[in-house]
């Protein structure tokens, strides 16, 4: 009997933790999402009326921010993939004895706060940074153009912040490829580009899928980059939820938006994995 119970006993702490900090809040959030203000009550006082129209109202009111969230997250994911793939490839196959050192460098940004790093980007892209004057000098942007408080800054910040989430799974996947299969491909009449398309990329697909999900999902719900590097015109759905909850104290709308975001991400991710699981994405 004792032998059978042991695994369940070992699972108990994890279950209790998830129940308290995941299941209960989700249930609470679900209840909140269909509440309405108490007539004549104070700000922040709501009662349960099962008003599911909250969802429709919340969505219609914030369509623009939803669209922007997914667009920014998509661009950041694509950029991160383009930066990370050659990086992960080089670390896996070309770095020799510097492999571990380079991996530490990839993770090194995590040693400081996410917020601090994002604020640092504000300075990098600001008037006093080197980027803006340089771009002005070589004529890529005009004298009047600024980079802070733009969609560009938000997407750059997101790309940067989520880069390690793309690089690490890609590295893990590429590192597992037997270099002899690449030699075999060359031996069997495939040039470098064909070898990449027919052997390297398909074999690294698990890393591509994991990396894009780990980047896209948090990026779609992110509000820090938009808050620090953006303007009212670059507001994402995360910013709306944040202000509804903490500033306007409109709990039902914030909760409804949260659930809508979760559902949207779930649908997109499911479609993506289905496609990635059956055929090559590229």
């Amino acid at each position: 009997m004792g032998k059978i119970r042991t695994p369940y006993l070992l699972l108990l702490p994890g279950f209790l933790f998830l129940f308290t900090f995941f299941i209960l809040p989700i249930v609470n959030l679900a209840q909140t999402s269909t509440q309405t203000p108490i007539a004549g009550g104070d700000t922040g006082q709501y009662e349960q009326t099962l008003r599911f129209a909250n969802y429709l109202d919340a969505f219609l009111e914030n369509r623009e921010q939803f669209g922007r969230s997914f667009l920014y997250a998509l661009i950041a994911t694509v950029l991160a993939l383009m930066i990370s793939y050659p990086l992960a490839y080089a670390i896996a196959f070309k770095s020799g004895k510097y492999k571990n050192f380079l991996l530490v460098l990839v993770v090194a940004p995590f040693f400081t706060s996410f917020l601090l790093r994002t604020v640092a980007w504000k300075q990098i892209l600001g008037e006093e940074g080197f980027v803006v004057p340089t771009l002005r000098t070589i004529g890529i942007i005009s004298e009047s153009t600024t980079l802070t408080s733009t969609a560009f800054a938000v997407v750059m910040g997101m790309t940067y912040n989520f880069l390690p989430f793309m690089t690490l799974p890609l590295y893990a996947s590429i590192d597992r490829i037997d270099p002899r299969t690449l030699e075999a491909s060359g031996d069997l009449y495939a040039n470098a580009f064909t070898t990449f398309r027919k052997v390297t990329l398909p074999l690294s697909m698990p890393g591509v899928v994991a990396g894009t999900l780990l980047t896209f999902i948090p990026a779609a719900g992110d509000y820090v980059n938009a808050a620090i590097l953006g303007s009212p015109n670059t507001k994402m759905i995360g910013n709306v939820i944040e202000s509804r909850y903490f500033k306007i104290v409109d709990y039902p709308t914030a909760a409804a938006l949260s659930f809508t975001l979760m559902a949207a991400i779930l649908i997109l991710v499911t479609l993506y994995i289905r496609k990635a699981g059956t055929e090559e994405l590229v």
Partner: protein
Amino acid sequence: MSFDASSARGDLILTRITKEYGDFKAVDDLSLTIAKGSFFALLGPSGCGKTTTLRMIAGLEEPTVGSIHLGETDITTTKPYQRPINTVFQNYALFPHLTIFENIAFGLRRRGIKDVDAQVNKVLNLVELPHLAGRKPTQLSGGQQQRIALARAIVNRPALLLLDEPLGALDLKLRRQMQIELKWIQKEVGLTFVHVTHDQEEAMTMADTIAVMNEGQIEQMGSPAELYDNPKTAFVANFLGQSNLIKGTISGNDGDSIVADLYGQKISLPKHRSHAVDNSIYAGIRPEKFRISLLNTPVSGNVLGGGHIEDVSYIGVSTQYQVAMPWGQELIVFEQNDDGVAPFKKGDAVNISWEPVFTFALRGDEDVTAGSEVNPEVLDEE
């Protein structure tokens, strides 16, 4: 400069090839011609440069000095995918994401060949695995993967097929079976095979010509029988089978024969089997060429007296003796168990005799242990 050499055909000619990695010379001024249609083996211990030589032929490494020709075409700097050469890799290197069919079709598709289905099915039948076409490589046993790796290479009908320790990962029984099959397939398809191995038995079973490599150079090249019967160096004598090497001095001439003095006892050997440069020699005799006889038995040929049996190992088909000689050396003797005579016993006083034609002579300044310390059974990952 690289260009498409895919239509080149003919003998493979390596001319004064050297490959250096920093200060280390993996291959040292090696010249070699491999005849079209032959089964050629590069044999040597790990680190002798045989795999590096193979990789230069495949185009995976570029020689530091020297040139490689296929017939009239210089392919020294041609990219691997532009050479009419295919490789069966050590550990096979099959594409794990593709089916067996697509693995074999890979080379055909890259070259835009039309009847892929027919050609793939033909080689699948040749290696007797047509039922595995739809499987993935991980679902196959080692022996099956080995055959698919071979099929993936020969389906392209290359001018040259390179085999890099192709049987190294298989167990002994399967290895024997594949040796016979590979030989048969080579005859069947009529391609030039270049086989790299550290296993002397494998090389001797399969190859028409063997080049024995040591420290980046070819020690000796010839048919298996030539190399075994008349090795030119102690390395070859020890690496291919076992040899008894006895120190001696040339003391005279007798027509086509040389007379030599081995610790005071005279023997003779044919002149053409001596590779000595002066009077100092090592006389070499293979263990199975020796005969053992008790002291009062008449003997013919070369005779060395004064031995006694030190150790007896019964191996079924033969009995292996170690015979201690008066000068302190122990000679190894294999006797076939085919005459119903009871084996000799430990301590018996014996003479050793053999036919003079089986004797070979090496230079007296050779290192007699060369090639005997390397353990050919250790699989290396060069």
